[in-house]
Amino acid sequence: MKRTVLVLGAGGYVGRKLMDALSRCEDMQPIACLRRQSSTMGHASVCFDATDPVELEKHISGIDVVVNCIGSDPTVMKHSAQALLQAARSNGPLIVHFSSMAVYGSACGLLDENAPLRGDIGAYANAKVEIERLMASYPRRIILRPGCIYGPGSPAWSSRIARLLKARRLGDLGAAGDGIANLVHVDDVAAAVIAGIRRPECAGQVFNLAMKNPPTWNDYFISFAKALGAVPVRRIGEKMLKAEGKVFAPALKILEILVGKLPVSLDLPPFMSPGLLSLFRQDITLVSEKAERELGLVWKDLETGLRDSALFEEEKK
């Protein structure tokens, strides 16, 4: 018998990749939950507002697993999680919930799943912590805390970085890039979800997801720039980075809001918020041995991951 898997937030990058992976599994029957109808999905889908408990309850009935990939606005994330828990109470599906390494906030050093949840780096991190606390009351749940999910077309950690590297706005950042890039390939993330669903003993568990021996951000940028052919890599000084965080980021953010109101879509250059710039300095390493041990994960090697990601960017052109 196939397991029915409802993927909330299936229109996002991780949701889409997960749908692809699930539909390749013979024992899974995935259904995409989308906010808006999409013709490009190519999978069975339903369309409703996941923050509405009544709608959710209706769609959850008869479903074995719900994967929660909703990761956007903190309020939406909170409301949908509350709605999900309420709806799940009646028929009790397994919930695989995507949290984030952001729950560890500004902590440094080696962090396993037992490290305190600080969430002290903004509203997103804070919401993720709150939602994890809510989820704790539901026994049939798996919480995944991925690091930075990269892979072909990953908007945040591959495509955006690629654009910044090509524009020579990113490169070798010196001390500002000494932080650890807790990268995890999107295929490994999908594999973690599938393994979690298949292994009943994983219910109730929390897993960090990040590659072993992660590079520093500088090493990530240099290696990715080489894979992209965006060489020679530029050394970016502290003054330039300050300007990125304090001048370009707010200006581009305002522009993004203004452009969002226009009927046409415009492709604006990416920006690096002060929060992102502090992540590049943060000496935080996610310990993900538990995922290796209990989910049987073998992390994709960075070189292959970067090659695929660079190829995707090349083909996009």
Binding site: G171, D172, G174, A175, D178, I222, A225, K226, V231, P232, V233, R234, R235, I236, G237, E238, M240, R281
Partner: protein, 553 residues
């Protein structure tokens, strides 16, 4: 944690596992190497976060022959970051041959082999921010490079080896955050003044330090490492004579001897007969963005056969001072002389006054070369002044195929070339140093013969001519005296206390817990600039210190 020793109550006693003295390339690399060890590391640094005149003046001393050596307070910086706050960033590894005992280089031979250091070079290269550890242009670059001198017969000199350039990385700024690790404490404005030994002289019991504000404190630790530079380390060892009457580690009068810098100069005129545009004397930028430069390096087998020290040469612009080069950029640089720091101006310009006729000629060059000068100024502004990774040096491409030869050669270790103490003292009561730098005939021979080989190779290859006056070689190689900023060999490592100060672990012979780091411990100078090897040796020392068994201490 980084704090200021001036705020410590007088006579405070501090405890640590390892106490490092000096936060320059050596001390900072060592502290970084120990940062994950879990041991408590205390780093004493004489200077503050910026240059301070009173602290810098503590480096003042005497030079026996000022024509041969620059003043003792120049070419080194007494501040957090040490001399990396002004260094040029040229990174070059030693070659395997440099570690061997060579019959034709007296007192040569290291107690460790190349492989011992090579293990640490990749990480050292990283700390120096010089990219991957690959110093051969053929393997370091995947794209084909423009040949340096097409058609040149490389039988004596190879054009494959290269130099890589650091940003240049100021170790203070770059590693400030990393040095804030919880197990590292850095005390600024802390000047080591006394090394206290146990009555039998076999152990350091504590260090005493003073600030220029008048307070003093002491440090007790399991191990102590002096990283105060190749000159100051000598001063600290010789100034402490209460237990060992000749100074620490100096039972056999070795401390301060064998003092080497490098032998360097600019020589003659190279006139290429091949098209000038086909000659490449500039930088190649690696994919990681590192400036790399190829040079002519005397092959190891030729060194052995000809019994020469190591030697490298680069194609250089003609002598700046002489306006007959007709180059507007060079003449403009001459006019900008007052704005260039002593350390960098010294080898660019000569001391001799320039006649008014030459001045006029320089001004004419400037007037005629105005468009080139504008381009050069823009390049220097964009790629050097404003760039985070700086274009390393002035490179002028000759339209006529005319160059001079800039060389850098090994200096032979000689016990008569030495650093000692003078009678007068600094404001902290420490005896000042006195430098008596000397070179030997083997050094002249290395340069003379290498130049002759190069001259012959140029002619035989039919690429051009190299004209110089062989009688002038000694004069030219000592025109600016000892190469500044490289302080090598003064506390050399070796097997025997009769001929060396430390053993192969950099521990002072006969003192169980006193170690030295920096180019002072190098037994030979190679042609290579020292800092990359200083950093590699410090990382090796960090590993050694962590491997020690401290139970029972």
């Amino acid at each position: 944690m980084i704090s200021d020793a001036r705020t410590l109550p007088d006579a405070t006693v501090l405890q640590a596992d390892f106490c490092i003295v000096g936060a320059g390339a050596a001390g900072i690399s060592l502290a970084l190497g120990l940062s994950q060890s879990g041991y408590k590391v205390l780093l004493l640094e004489s200077g503050g976060e910026k240059e301070e005149a009173a602290t810098q003046a503590l480096y003042e001393g005497h030079v026996v022959n000022p024509a041969l050596h620059s003043p003792t307070e120049s070419y080194r910086q007494r501040r957090f970051g040490g001399t990396t706050t002004i260094w040029g960033g040229r990174c070059v590894p030693y070659d395997p041959l440099d570690f061997e005992a060579r019959s034709y280089v007296p007192h040569s031979g290291w107690p460790i082999g190349y492989d011992e250091i090579a293990r640490y070079y990749p990480q050292a290269n990283r700390l120096c921010e010089a990219g991957v550890f690959d110093y051969r242009s053929e393997t370091a670059f995947t794209r084909p490079l423009k040949p340096m001198i097409p058609g040149f017969d490389q039988r004596h000199f190879t054009m494959d080896t290269m130099e890589r350039f650091s940003c240049p990385t100021d170790f203070h700024i770059r590693y400030h955050d990393k040095l804030s690790a919880p197990n590292i404490q850095i005390l600024l404005h802390a000047n080591l003044t006394r090394i206290a030994l146990s009555p039998d002289g076999n152990r350091v019991t504590e260090l005493e330090a003073k600030t220029l504000s008048g307070n003093g404190f002491s440090v007790r630790a399991t191990c102590f490492v002096l990283c105060a530079g190749g000159l100051e380390t000598v001063r600290l060892l010789l100034a402490n004579r209460d237990v060992h009457a000749q100074g620490i580690g100096n039972q056999h009068d070795v401390v301060g001897r064998y003092y080497m810098c490098h032998i360097a100069g600019t020589m003659g005129g190279i006139h290429f007969s091949i098209p000038p545009a086909s000659v490449w004397n500039g930088y190649d930028i690696s994919d990681e963005g590192i400036y790399c430069r190829r040079r002519l390096a005397l092959r190891p087998e030729v060194q052995k056969r000809e019994q020469l020290g190591s030697f490298v040469a680069r194609l250089h612009h003609p002598r700046i001072t002489d306006p007959s080069h007709g180059n507007g950029i060079l003449s403009a640089l001459y006019c900008a002389k007052p704005f260039i720091s002593y350390e960098y101006a010294k080898r660019l310009f000569e001391e001799d006054p320039v006649s008014w006729r030459d001045w006029c000629h320089h001004l004419k060059n400037v007037a005629l070369g105005a468009p080139d000068i504008m381009g050069f100024a823009w390049h220097m502004l964009r790629d050097r002044k404003l760039a985070a990774r700086k274009f390393p040096s002035v490179v002028i491409k000759s339209r006529t195929g005319l160059y001079s030869l800039d060389f850098h050669a090994e200096q032979t270790p000689d016990p008569m070339s030495r650093v000692g103490l003078a009678h007068d003292r600094d404001p902290l009561g420490m005896q000042k140093i006195e430098i008596d730098w000397r070179y030997v005939s083997q050094d002249v021979h290395t340069v003379k013969r290498s130049l002759a080989l190069l001259q012959q190779d140029m002619a035989d290859s039919g690429v051009g001519s190299f004209d110089y006056d062989p009688h002038n070689v000694e004069k030219e190689m000592t025109r600016y005296g000892a190469y500044g900023g490289h302080h090598i060999g003064t506390v050399r490592m070796g097997h025997s206390p009769r001929t060396s100060v430390t053993n192969s672990d950099c521990r002072v012979h006969g003192v169980a817990n006193l170690y030295l780091a920096g180019s002072g411990v190098f037994p030979t100078s190679s042609q290579a600039n020292p800092t990359l090897t200083i950093v590699a040796l410090s990382l090796r020392l960090a590993d050694h210190l962590q491997s020690l068994d401290f139970s029972g201490t």
